[in-house]
Amino acid sequence: MAAISEGQSGTGSETAARQRWLAVLARTPRERLEAALSELMPAPRYRPLKPAEAGLVMVRGRAGGTGSRFNLGEMTVTRAAIALEEGPVGIGYVPGRDRRRAELVAVFDALLQLSDRRASLMAALIEPQAAEIEAARANRAAKVAATRVSFFTMVRGE
């Protein structure tokens, strides 16, 4: 599982770094991506390699949780690929059918591959978004934890 939080992504390789930002971007609302893009000066120039397309991904499970695979059901997924003028190719996979969001994810995936852009984008977009995702998860986990049963033994008789 690709980790959202920093430092959990293991090897620290280029692939692991990319897996992490793609996982964060897939969970970033479109408005936030648009806002982050509009702040970039000069605006990045790119062209679509694969126009954003909505489709289906068959989600699989495993019998018993860890056994043989089976097909659970499909989900809607939209994907896009773009090429920046500077060269890097970015891809975007997002749940649902928002084509613009998939394209924006692809744009940021490409921008994050540029060494002169990466640090500022990580600080301005990826890290704050990752922190928000983690905070929401922690908040939920704390509320769920409050429903944990604390057993105590009833003393019978006197």
Partner: protein, 368 residues
């Protein structure tokens, strides 16, 4: 036999207009939005996604609105919609042991690692109608514990399994293709992958009744809810453009690991066997029923005597899909005018013969 007929276009158009008007209901009441359905009738959404076999809460909300709340109709709408989209690929199997748990209970052990976590359950409500919900208003924040639920949460199956008391999950031989009902028809014998897919999208009511019958003695089944968990899992898939797996979404699923009766033979020590349920969304009743029926369908594999419908894969799998079942039952509404004319003719002829025989009968008077 069906005969092409013409006419009725105006009637159909008007029926659609009347349907739209009835869907809207009293115009002095504010119109409901798909977002309201998605947020406030979430369990209805979850069932539509599970049995529509398509995870998309917005589409499920739209389908429920369009279907005026008729779940089977909404499921049909999702099944029809999915045929318009291309398949982009298969996900990696979701890792339910790594689920971000919103609820997790076990009926087999009181003390389990990580604890009994009730989550947002109806179980301990009194099932008394709450008049306060007839009004709108603010609700209090749910209390939070100082520390969140452990992640990942240890599985109950791993605890029992360590002693060899529980049959292990069947390991996979290879990573080749597996049965996919969206690409191929049901075939028998149906392997576990095909059965689980059919059950995961099967009708909750049908599976509930089938599962219930196994408990009442229509299949030798002595189940315990080993673990039920509901929460979020990450969906990962290998992007062909990249050649490595990426994490593309979190989805909510409910999982049930049902632990069943001893099994043993001359060569194997007795141990517990298992049935498995996994469904999209928060669908605990469905996941439990699925696990019961998955286990009863393993009768042949486990060398059990087959005596009841829940053990018969053809009976269960051919009838568990509510889109198919609804289509075949409702096709009886189609004009069968010619069929019926021929039946009328036959029945009239039979009656005439019977009346003639009766009139000529020497016992006629006695009979009167």
């Amino acid at each position: 036999m069906y005969v092409a007929t013409k006419g009725g276009e105006q009637a159909i158009a008007n029926a659609h207009a009347l349907l739209a008007e009835d869907r809207r209901g009293d115009p002095t009441v504010p119109e409901i939005t798909p977002a309201q359905i998605r947020e406030q009738l979430r369990l209805g959404i979850d069932r539509v996604m599970a049995e529509g076999s398509l995870y998309d809460p917005d589409l499920a909300a739209l389908a429920l609105k369009q279907a005026r709340g008729d779940q089977v109709e909404a499921i049909f709408l999702l099944r029809a919609y999915r045929t318009t989209l291309p398949r982009l690929g298969y996900s990696e199997p979701v890792a339910t042991p790594e689920m971000r748990v919103h609820r997790r209970i076990s009926a087999t052990f009181k003390e389990i690692a990580g604890g009994q976590i009730l989550g947002p359950t109806f179980d301990y409500t009194q099932r008394l109608l709450d008049p306060s919900l007839a009004e709108t208003g603010e609700i209090a924040d749910a209390p939070a514990a100082g520390q969140g639920v452990a992640h990942p949460l240890p599985r109950v199956a791993d605890t029992i399994g360590r002693e060899g008391l529980l049959e292990p999950d069947a390991a996979e031989q290879d990573d080749g293709p597996i049965a996919d009902l969206t690409r191929e028809p049901l075939r028998f014998p149906a392997d576990r992958a095909m059965r689980l897919q059919a059950l995961a999208r099967g009708d909750e009511g049908f599976l509930l009744s089938m599962g219930y019958s196994t408990q009442r003695g229509y299949a030798r089944n002595h189940p315990f809810a080993g673990e039920i968990r509901m929460g979020e899992v990450a969906v990962e898939m290998v992007a062909p453009e990249l050649g490595f797996a990426i994490d593309i979404a979190d989805i909510c699923v409910t999982e049930c690991d049902m632990v069943n009766q001893f099994k043993g033979s001359k060569t194997e020590l007795p141990q517990f066997t298992r049935g498995y349920g996994l469904v999209f969304g928060y669908g605990e009743r469905k996941a439990m029923a699925m696990a019961l029926v998955d286990r009863s369908l393993r009768a042949e594999e486990l060398g059990e005597e087959i005596t009841a419908p829940p053990q018969d894969p053809e009976f269960v799998l051919y009838h568990c899909d509510n889109v198919e079942a609804s289509g075949f039952v409702q096709h009886l509404k189609l004009p069968h005018h010619v069929d019926f004319q021929s039946e009328l003719h036959v029945v009239r002829g039979m009656r005439a013969e019977a009346e003639k025989a009766l009139a000529e009968s020497p016992f006629k008077e006695a009979a009167e």
